[in-house]
Each structure stands twice: as C-alpha cells, then as structure tokens.
C-alpha cells in the first residue's frame, strides 16, 4: 500500500471513544473530526478505523418502502413506521433478529415489543457463538476479564480463532504484547499457542502452532485430557498430531502459572459444534487441578455479548427467546432463527443492526425472500436488497451513546462523538416508536373485539 501522510486537517479531536466493531471494545480511540465527519481515527486497527470512517455512499439516510414494482421508494418517517408497525402487529410468528450492533438501551424496548406481539428475539450468537453458550450451560464457564489476562497470563492459546484477522488488537492490547503487573517484559514473558487447521496470520506469529486436521478438535482435546490424566495415548497420531507432541504440550500447559484459552468460530461451526466446546472447557477443568486456566469465547460484534447477558438477566435465557406463548421459552434447534427460517415458520422478520443477507446460509435467506423483511440499520447492504421496509438508524459509539458489553462481560458506555445525519433517528427511538404504534393497533383491536 502506498504511503499515506498523517491526517493533519481536522477541527477537533474527540478523545477516549470506544470502537464499535469487535468484541474487544477498545476504549482508547481518538476521532479526528472535521465539518461534523470523522476524517481520521487514532489507535484503532484497520477494522475499527474502516468502520468509523464509513462509506457515506451507502449510508442509509431516508426511510424507504418497496412499491408494487419491487423498487425501494423514499417515504417519510410516519409512513415507514406505520407500515412496519402494521406488519409486526399482524404477524403470527415474527422474529426480531440482530441487536448485536446496537445499544442495551435499544434492546430494552425490543424486549417489550417482543413480549407484546409474541415474537422470537434472537441475536448473532445464533450463527456464531450459540454452541459456546450451550456448552457454558452444560459444563460451566471459568472466565476472567481481559485486564487480568494482561497482568497475569503467561500462556495464551487461541483455538479455532484468528484474532489477527477478526480482533486485531486483542493480542496487542490485552493478551500477548502488553506489559502487565506480573509480566513486566510483555511478549517475552508469554507463550503464544495457536490451534487451528489453517496456518493463519495468528499462527504465523505464534510460538507454537498445532495444525490439527479439519474437524479434529474434539479428538485433539480428548487426547490432551488423557495426557493430563496420565493415561497412555494408544494411537501414534490423534487428529493428525503425533502423540509425543500432545504429551509435550499437555506438560507445558500444566506447568504455566496462568493460562488463558480463547476460542472462536472454528469450534462452533464444525460438525461437533457445542461438544467441541464442552471438551475444551472440560480440558480446562482438568488443567485447573494443576494450575490456573481461564477461557473466553472470542465474541465477534461489540455488543453480541451484551444481548446475551441482558437477555439472560431479564428473561433467563441468553438468545433464541420465544414469547409466542406469552411467556419466555428457549429450546435449541427449535426457537432459533435459522431453524425457524428453514422450517418456513416465520412470517415477518425484523432485522436490527445485523446483516442476514450477507451472513445466513442460502437455505435460510430463501425463506426471507418469501416474507416481509423490516430492516433497521445504518448501511445499505445485502439485507437491504431483500428488505421491504428500511428504517435508517444511527451509529452507536459515534453518533449516539449507548452501553455495550465487552467479550469478557465488562460493560462499557460508548459515548457520542459527532451528530447523526439529520434524517436518521436513534435505534432506541425507532424501536420505542414501533412499540408505541404496535401497542396502539393492539389496543384498537382489543376495543373492537370487546364491542
């Protein structure tokens, strides 16, 4: 890439902003603002900077509704909100999906709306770390905050995850490189291990790379567990890794002072799904017989964990919460978005700050092409191509404040830095407005029925 001179042409610096991209929620960013736009971002990684300095060409600025020719047409806010409220109020099996890129404050109104119409509330965990949450329910969750890792950990393991691509500052800010209270020399005091079939960008900079076979995670953790328990491994290779290497690694993991394991979608998206994570957690239980080990899932969006924590706190279940019977229910494989869509159960789909068009498997998107879709988002994306009502929201952490939860469960208030485009509204306002309008329709229906 060509050399780029530093940005010097700006009016003001807004300090200590929080990045609204990945689960690291880096809260040390400085935005360089000129004429009400962010023209430069300091401290962020490539991902964070590119999100904050968004592409205005594709910013959703006006509410839109599909007309009879299948073209999106600009309308005013009242028309768009009424149309969306009418769809939601008339739905039999609505799904409200997304929430991970918006604030907890927005979710508050979302829950009330969901309860009112008997919807399913689900978030991106359903297509990424859902199995991790199931495993946590199965076998527990030895968690630590990132600050603790920074100060103490001397072995960091990434498994089925490539933070150099998906959480670029995770190593730099929290786990591997920073100097900590008990790790005064930073990187030199820590061992970095990557377990991944792919020789990923993280593997390239690790001290040890364990390239087990595709779908070999389950067998591999079991072998480590056997080694930890002092059992003989009777095969020469397990999941493509020689037995001696497994014994040696188990020995190393036993002898650290504080170990941290981070796991990503490599575990949840392969065939054994939550069983992989069950096994990884149980491996840590075994390691904790000898020394201190903790683990954290590498959550993708900045507030995907927030939805799960918030839902678990309010409703008792982390995601895929179904209100159709008037009370909350949660049943894996039944009340989750992908299953509901592939079974063609859903009849109105509202997506808030997410992109199912880009990230759902084709089989699920096919059903979205048959039902009305309401989109609340900031950018024109693949989901807009299949949306029937589009409501432009605002950018949390840049254009409006809000609370989010970091991947380790630490809540962070993200402040507002610049004003939102005049024609956009805050997500919180949009959902509250929908709630009020749906409530009105329901009240009218009830009044009519009682006559």
């Amino acid at each position: 890439m060509a050399y780029e001179p530093p940005v010097t042409d700006y009016d003001e610096i807004v300090e200590n902003c929080t990045c609204a991209f990945c689960g690291c929620n880096c809260d040390d960013l400085d935005f360089l603002v000129k004429d009400g736009h962010v023209v430069g971002v300091r401290h962020a990684c490539r991902l964070g900077a590119s999100k904050v300095m968004e592409d205005m060409d594709q910013r959703l600025l006006v509410p839109m509704i599909r007309d009879e020719n299948g073209e999106l047409q600009e309308v005013d806010w009242d028309t768009a909100l009424d149309k969306a409220a009418e769809l939601i109020a008339g739905a039999v099996r609505p799904i409200f999906y997304g929430w991970s890129e918006t604030s907890i404050e927005t979710m508050k109104h979302g829950i009330r709306l969901g309860e009112l119409v008997g919807a399913v509330l689900d978030n991106q965990a359903t297509i990424c770390h859902g199995p991790s949450l199931q495993a946590v329910q199965n076998v527990g969750y030895p968690v630590a905050t990132l600050g603790e890792i920074k100060n103490r950990a001397d072995m960091i393991v990434y498994t089925g995850s490539n933070p150099m691509n998906s959480h670029p500052r995770h190593l730099a800010r929290y786990t591997t490189f920073p100097r900590g209270w008990f790790r005064q020399r930073g990187r030199f005091d820590r061992t970095l291990v990557t377990m991944d079939p792919k020789y990923s960008d993280t593997a390239k900079m690790s001290d040890i790379w364990i390239g087990f076979e595709q779908n070999g995670d389950y067998g591999f953790y079991n072998a480590i567990r056997a080694a930890l328990k002092g059992k003989e491994i009777d095969q020469d290779y397990v999941s493509g890794i020689p037995k001696e290497v497994i014994m040696e690694l188990a020995e190393k993991m036993k002898n650290v002072q504080f170990g941290a394991l981070y796991f990503g979608l490599g575990l949840t998206h392969t065939l054994s799904k939550q069983r992989n994570i069950d096994m990884a957690i149980e491996m840590l239980t075994d390691l904790n017989e000898y020394t201190k080990w903790v683990l954290t899932p590498m959550r993708g969006h900045f507030n995907v964990n927030g939805f799960n924590i918030f839902m678990a706190y309010e409703m008792g279940f982390p995601y895929g919460v179904d209100f159709c019977r008037g009370y909350q229910r949660y049943m894996n494989g039944e009340t989750n978005t992908i299953d509901l869509l592939t079974r063609k159960e859903c009849d109105v789909f509202m997506v808030i700050a997410a992109d199912p068009g880009a990230h759902y498997p084709g089989g699920a998107v096919k059903h979205l092409a048959e039902i009305p879709v309401i989109q609340v988002d900031i950018h024109w994306g693949p989901s807009t191509e299949i949306a029937d009502v589009v409501l432009p929201g605002s950018f949390i952490g840049v254009e409006c404040g809000g609370t989010s939860y970091r991947m380790d469960g630490v809540p962070i208030y993200m402040k507002k830095a610049i004003d939102k485009p005049e024609t956009c509204r805050d997500d919180e306002w949009i959902i509250r407005e929908l709630l009020e309008r749906v409530q009105k329709i329901k009240d009218e229906e009830a009044a009519l029925a009682s006559k």
Partner: protein, 176 residues
Amino acid sequence: MTYIEKPVVPKVIKFEEPTAKEYKLLNMMLNTGSDIYQGACKKRGSTCKDEYRKVCGVAYMDPKDMAKLGVTNWESVKVTTDWGEVIVSAVHSRDAPHEGTIFIPKGPWANVITSHETYCCCDPTYKGIYCTVEKSDEEVLLMADLMRAVYKKYVEDEEGIPELESLGEMPVFKKK
C-alpha cells in the same frame, strides 16, 4: 484511505514439484469465515462496490491446486456443494500450504453454498463442507446482482434474470 481495492495476494510461480496432470474438477473441502479484508469492507458499508466482490467473492486456494486446475490469480472458478453453486475468483492463499481445502470469506457469495443444517444446535455448518471446484469463464457477480440472481425476491420473470441490466455499484432507490 483505510482500505484497498482488493486483497494483496501472493503470486506463487515456483512449485517444489511441477504438477504434470491437469484436472477438470477437484474435490475439495470448503471453509468459510471472517477475514480482515472482508471485515473492513463490510463494516465500512461498501457492500455494493466492486471492492466487496474482490474481498468476499474469492476462493483462497493452495497454489498447487490452482496449478492443477490451470487457473491463475483472479480467474473465475465455479464452486459447487450440495446446497448450491457460485462463481468466485480464485487467488493464491497467503496461508498455504493447505492442499485440498479452499477458503471463501463469509459473505453473500460463500453463503450460497454453505449448509443451513444446524443439527439442532442453532448454528449452521459454515465450515468443513465438501465441494467441487472447476474452472469457469463466467464473471463474478456484484453483490446486488448476486442477491437478485439467487434469491429472486422482486423479479417477475425469473428466466430472464441473466439478461437484466446490472444493478451497479450504488444503491438503487426512488427518491422523493
């Protein structure tokens, strides 16, 4: 500029052992997942642009596999699974060697061919899918055209989709 118009990919011309035999079709394993270029482009919002097609509509392949198929960087290949088929560009992977597997960053292209099977665990199977890869001379579609061609939500004449004019790289909607 916080992004580049397409990913930087290595061009490998020297192989340890030259591949004598050319194959028409390879049986491979497909992985999908996030990638730094895909993440930056998606969240920046540039999904209609050519840039998004260059970062997501690509299959990162082992140079040896590409030699077997006789394709070079940025040439089209057709990837087929039990769930569908899609045209993407083949490029040399920076994580090679990984003969026998291909990686397509998550996005609309990859998801045409991923499995929606959740096995009752809520999560679709995005990784470890058997696929076949063959050379193709069709062009990789832009995001909007791909969504129209695959999901056909707002087209009346479904047969006529290939003849329709491209939706282009900018959002299309009627202003007031």
